[in-house]
């Protein structure tokens, strides 16, 4: 068997490949569902219905998708420049810390100013979290996969320390949580009687902005050039180090904004379980979208739908919610394989 690069991938293949990949992963996971003794089609129907079958389900799915859009964008932007930021989880918490620091009484402004201020502060905090890894990479060639990954734990321990110590809310009956965000800083709810908040609009706007910037701005050009061929980019006069720094600030900033959305929109206060791994899931979101900013919206909704739908399915029939993780993981794997089929033609013999 040999692989030959395709010169031009036909459009139908580009569109069909990820769809077929997701279908293939559904088929693979049906084996596990059969194992639990449940009818497969009914299980998938319940999953789909739970995620998209009611206005409540849709609102829950979109709420879940909100942080995933932002962390997915964080990964997509960084990976485009071959900057392997695995630390969106930590950067998300940095954004949440900044929002908590400013938003629990230190500053009080009308909501029109307060909310943008919180997002800006969160973005800066997320970017700052990447300063050390990016300098270690550009100055000393330290692998950023290691530094960003390990910083996640450092940041999480810092959050732990703050919530157990100086920032612990005395009114929390002993739970490790910070004081609530002041009313001016709380994000408005988009849909009555749901948890869906303004963070979704921030995520959608960010996706559009990132897409436009990658396509039309000089920065986007430089990021793509550095990612595709750093040597040629240097030769043409693009500073690779400066571009890496820029990418890191954008990527960390997006992840930080995801943290702000969760604190100020969903929970209202900082806790240790603010993110059930949104930072890591963002990598899957970006991969599923083939690093395309608009695709990130779709794949974030898809992932969120699987998680929300699996919760609802497991309540209805006896299938553990872990099936969601299996579905997501196998979808990402299948999509990566399908991308190979888009890029290469397989020749048997």
């Amino acid at each position: 068997m040999t692989l030959e690069p395709r010169e031009h991938a036909p459009l139908w293949l580009v569109v069909l490949a990820p769809v077929a990949a997701v279908a293939a992963s559904l088929v693979l996971c049906s084996v596990l569902i059969l194992w639990t003794g449940q009818p497969v089609l009914n299980a998938y129907r319940l999953l789909l219905g739970g995620a998209f079958g009611s206005s409540f389900g849709i609102a829950e799915t979109l709420t879940r998708a909100t942080p995933l859009i932002l962390t997915g964008l964080a990964a997509a932007v960084a990976f485009r420049a071959k900057f392997w930021n695995i630390g969106a989880e930590g950067q998300l918490y940095c954004g949440a810390l900044a929002a908590t620091w400013l938003g629990t009484g230190m500053v009080s402004l009308p909501p029109v100013l307060m909310i943008p201020l919180l997002f800006a502060a969160g973005a800066v905090a997320g970017g700052v979290a990447l300063l050390v890894p990016v300098f270690l990479k550009t100055r000393l060639k330290v692998d950023e996969v290691v530094t960003t990954l390990l910083l996640n734990f450092v940041i999480l321990l810092l959050v732990n320390f703050l919530l157990e110590g100086p920032w612990k809310d005395p009114m929390s009956l002993g739970w490790p949580q910070a004081a609530p965000i002041v009313d001016e800083g709380v994000l408005p709810v988009l849909l009555a009687k749901s948890r869906l908040h303004m963070g979704l609009l921030v995520g959608l706007a960010a996706a559009l902005l990132v897409w436009a910037a990658m396509r039309w701005s000089v920065w986007g050009y430089e990021i793509r050039a550095v990612g595709l061929n750093p040597q040629a980019a240097t030769f043409a006069g693009i500073s690779v180090n400066l571009t890496m720094l820029r990418v890191a600030m954008i990527s960390g900033g997006l992840a930080g904004m995801a943290g702000v959305g969760e604190v100020a929109g969903l929970k209202g206060y900082l806790t240790l379980d603010l993110s059930p791994g949104f930072g890591y899931a963002g990598i899957a979101v970006a991969m599923l979208a083939a690093l395309h900013p608009i695709g990130v919206i779709l794949s974030a909704v898809f992932l969120a739908g699987i998680y929300v739908g699996a919760d609802s399915m497991s309540r209805a029939v006896n299938i553990p919610t872990y099936i969601a993780d299996v579905l997501v993981a196998s979808s990402v794997l299948a999509v990566l394989v399908s991308l190979m089929f888009v890029r290469f033609r397989v020749r048997w013999r």
Partner: protein, 507 residues
């Protein structure tokens, strides 16, 4: 032993790399395989050696067909191959490299004494002098090639394939290789000699098989061929070489004084280089690969800063070594490796054409938004003017042929009417038609007043277009010589390290 290739066909997708190729080599014969880059020579040899499997056809040694795709069978049948890029373990001795893979894994010890004796015998018989106990990384390029040949002979090769063997050698080393080949054919060995250098083929071969676009154009006896006829067979039409006119040089544009560049581990890549390139002249820098050319090219591209010495452009000392500053000083750069350094292969043709000017006003508006219309109009004009074929401005750059990719780089470089042009191996891997086009562009730029430095390992190229020649060896550069006062022989001696050999002849 004889070798025959019968009707070998190999397709890569839509590309037919080999189209029903047949040829034969008799015992004691040197067959030259001549063809431009991309004519299918290397593919054919990879099929012969079992690296690729042919779609049709067969390879016969002494009338017996070799099993396809089996390198071991090819070696066992007596086929030996010396690749253009050597496959030697640098940290092992010559002896170890040669015996590697020939001894049984079940034996406790290797019989080094017997191997050493055999290597000595072969080396004496064919003039392949090299000390079996030296480490390979201490050897010169010519010696490494001898080790590769010994490696093949040690495995009892009777048919030796040499892929572009002279591209890394000085003319003297090439002569020595030819003597070895003659000694081998006198013993009854057969040689397939792959090259696109006509004078070498005329010097060494008995017959020539010419390939063009994957098919055999014809086979002729070397005695009945000459340069022109072979060139015409190879290219398919008569090739007109651009004419060189000698102009009165103007003021110096680039001046290097005592420039030293240190590499990893403190090795001196450039050692006190002094060099001047003036308006309206082309200076050729000759040298065997790996003698500091890359460092000099990087230095003059702005991607490497010197450890000591002075670089002046238009009389101004350069303080900052960055590609951006060099572009701003109107230095046009043609990199050695166009795929790795010249273009971003996965971006569009137009995006690569504006790569060096992206920060200039006509190409963006409102600060940092790219003006697509302006960029595309500019790219369309360059594609037209420089005759870049194979893809439109929206095509993927990676898909361009070598010649068209080089035209793209020339276009974005020359359109800014540079003061100084650094052309590093500008014709490497190009076919005759593209070579003529590239040289014509450089000569035009010279006429318009540019100072040009051509770095090349191809002496024909340097003698063909330069006004003055300097030779680089071990990071040191000779005094300039007038191109009329030198020939390949003298340059060869200088390239081998005798830089002073040109003294007294300087113009």
């Amino acid at each position: 032993m004889t070798l025959e290739i019968r009707g070998v066909t190999k397709r890569f997708g839509a590309l037919v790399a080999n189209d029903a190729i047949s040829l034969s080599v008799a015992e004691g014969e040197v067959l030259a395989l001549l063809g431009e880059n991309g004519a299918g020579k290397t593919t054919l040899m990879n099929i012969l050696f079992g690296h690729y499997t042919a779609d049709a056809g067969e390879v016969l040694v002494d009338g017996t067909a070799l099993p396809p795709g089996d390198t071991r069978a090819a070696i066992a049948a007596g086929v030996g191959m010396v690749h253009q890029h050597f496959a030697l373990a640098d940290n092992m001795t010559v002896l170890e490299n040669i015996t590697l893979g020939t001894e049984s894994l079940w034996s406790w010890r290797s019989d080094a004494a017997a191997a050493r004796r055999r290597i000595r015998e072969m080396a004496d018989a064919y003039g392949l002098a090299v000390d079996p106990d030296r480490r390979v990384d201490e050897l010169s390029i010519g010696e490494k090639q001898r080790v590769e040949i010994l490696k093949a002979l040690y495995r009892h090769a009777r048919i030796l394939i040499l892929d572009e063997p002279t591209s890394v050698l000085t003319p003297q080393e090439a002569d020595r290789l030819f003597e070895t080949l003659r000694a081998m054919t006198a013993e009854g060995l057969s040689v397939i000699f792959i090259s696109h250098k006509l004078h070498e083929i005329l010097a060494i071969s008995d017959r020539v098989t010419v390939l063009r676009r994957g098919a055999v154009v014809g086979t002729v006896a070397t005695a009945e061929a000459d340069r022109e006829s072979l060139a015409e067979m190879m290219v398919g039409h008569k090739v007109a070489r651009p004419r060189v006119e000698h102009l009165e040089p103007g003021s110096p544009v680039v001046e290097l004084a005592g420039v030293t560049v240190s590499g990893a581990g403190g090795a001196r890549l450039l050692d006190g280089v002094t060099l001047t390139v003036r308006e309206r002249e082309i200076v050729g820098l000759a040298g065997v690969a790996g003698n500091g050319q890359s460092a000099l090219a990087a230095l003059l591209s702005g991607t490497l800063a010197p450890a000591a010495g002075d670089v002046r452009i238009d009389g101004e000392t350069v303080a900052r070594f960055s590609a951006r500053d060099f572009i701003a000083r109107r230095v046009g750069r043609i990199p050695e490796d166009r795929h790795a350094t010249g273009v971003v292969g996965d971006m569009a043709v137009w995006e690569n054409l504006i790569a060096e000017q992206l920060r200039e006003p006509p190409f963006w508006r409102w600060g940092r938004i790219i003006d697509f219309a302006a960029c595309r109009a500019y790219a369309r004009r360059l594609v037209e003017q420089f005759d870049i074929r194979g893809a439109g401005i929206d095509g993927t750059t990676r898909l361009l042929s070598g010649g068209n990719m080089q035209k793209l780089i020339l276009a974005r470089t020359l359109d800014r009417s540079p003061r100084f042009i650094l052309a590093s191996q500008p014709i490497r891997g190009l076919d005759e038609g593209a070579i003529a086009a590239v040289h014509q562009r450089l000569l035009d730029a010279k006429r318009e007043g540019a100072a040009v430095l051509v770095i090349s390992e191809d002496l024909d190229e340097i003698l063909g277009i330069a006004d003055r020649v300097v030779v680089i060896h071990g990071g040191r550069v000779s005094a300039p010589l007038d191109v009329g006062a030198v020939d390949a022989r003298r340059l060869g001696l200088m390239m081998a390290g005798d830089l002073a050999h040109g003294e007294g002849a300087a113009a």
